[in-house]
Symmetry: C2
Subunit: 202 residues, 2 copies
Amino acid sequence: MPKELDAKEKILEAAKGIFYKKGLGGARMAEIAEEAGINKAMLHYYFSSKEQLFETVFEEAFHKIIPSIISVLNSEKPIREKIEEIADFYITTLSANPQLPVFVLNAIQYDPERFLGKFMKNKQMSPQAFMGKLMQQFQQEIQEGKLPPVDPRHLIINLIGLSVFPFMMKPMLKIMMNMDDESFHDLMESRRELIPRFLLDT
Amino acid sequence: MPKELDAKEKILEAAKGIFYKKGLGGARMAEIAEEAGINKAMLHYYFSSKEQLFETVFEEAFHKIIPSIISVLNSEKPIREKIEEIADFYITTLSANPQLPVFVLNAIQYDPERFLGKFMKNKQMSPQAFMGKLMQQFQQEIQEGKLPPVDPRHLIINLIGLSVFPFMMKPMLKIMMNMDDESFHDLMESRRELIPRFLLDT
DNA sequence: ATTCTAATTAACTATTTGGTTAAACCATGC
DNA sequence: GCATGGTTTAACCAAATAGTTAATTAGAAT
């Protein structure tokens, strides 16, 4: 009986598309059902409520862009490598799915408690402990002269901002800079090496 | 008869708060009316529909963050100054209103045609012509050795990203980096000079 | 005072929406 | 066969929602 997964998958795919675009409040269950090519009652067969369906979609999106970079930052590699990997990861992930970050940030803005609560607990490491360890690594590598002496907090913010923000601005950038999808893609590709170089080469 | 402006202003203020948080679909007209301390029918007395009210709020938000930087970029100052002014402008504006960029980008993601259309026309200069002029200035200043030889497109993307993105991430950053509002504010203040230095000093 | 117009409200309506129900469908094991 | 269990559907329902109406208030002009 492979039908269950089939239908559930179709629902999630449709829900993703519509929630990404319209958010929790703007999406209609009937619309999701239609997009998935099934009956409206089927949604409630697999997902008890709109909220639950949304949370499922959100969790998938969130896990696509947050835990990955935490595990990279949490690894034993040198900072340089971590930075390269993260920029690389975001450019790959967001090239395939540019709406992801606006969707996630919007949900968080809508109800921070709810959509960041999981993030706090869920992790194997508390954000604080994890950041502490990372700060230590920064200090050490700076002392060893492997890194320019910058505030690690700024470096991380800059790294993520430089990697993620262009995709959020994609529609506007395409207009302002007169680009089509292909030239936008090329511009993002060139950032794979630009970002680490920019962040680390004084 | 100053009551008209009073009521209209109260409505817009309430609508802003609720649309910023919940978006077009998530906001309820009754909720906005209550928040404004007036009757639901008053909304439709001053604004014909929910959509029109939303567009009014959107337009105000949009004009708060886009035309300002265009007019700076469009001025006759040297690039260095333009960059300093824009970073400064965003940090001031978004410190007072961190939800602004997520709100605007979300609306654009929801219906790009509709919410970027105005941007295209409305301007005194077409984005293309305007960018063309700017690119020329970049080339010239680079030739004169006043600027490091970087791709101007990347420079602009980086400038806006470094200035705006931290405010979008504010809730997450506060948790990850264990900051309260005050220390977040301090961190952002330090970016006023960090961003131009970072962008321009090779 | 009276008229006129803009502001304001309570009550109402038509529609949309999330969610339910009870019956039908269909594969599998016996 | 047929009983069983998960799957799917059409029809239905109650609540919520954007928008309307028609009546009321209050202030200004005459």
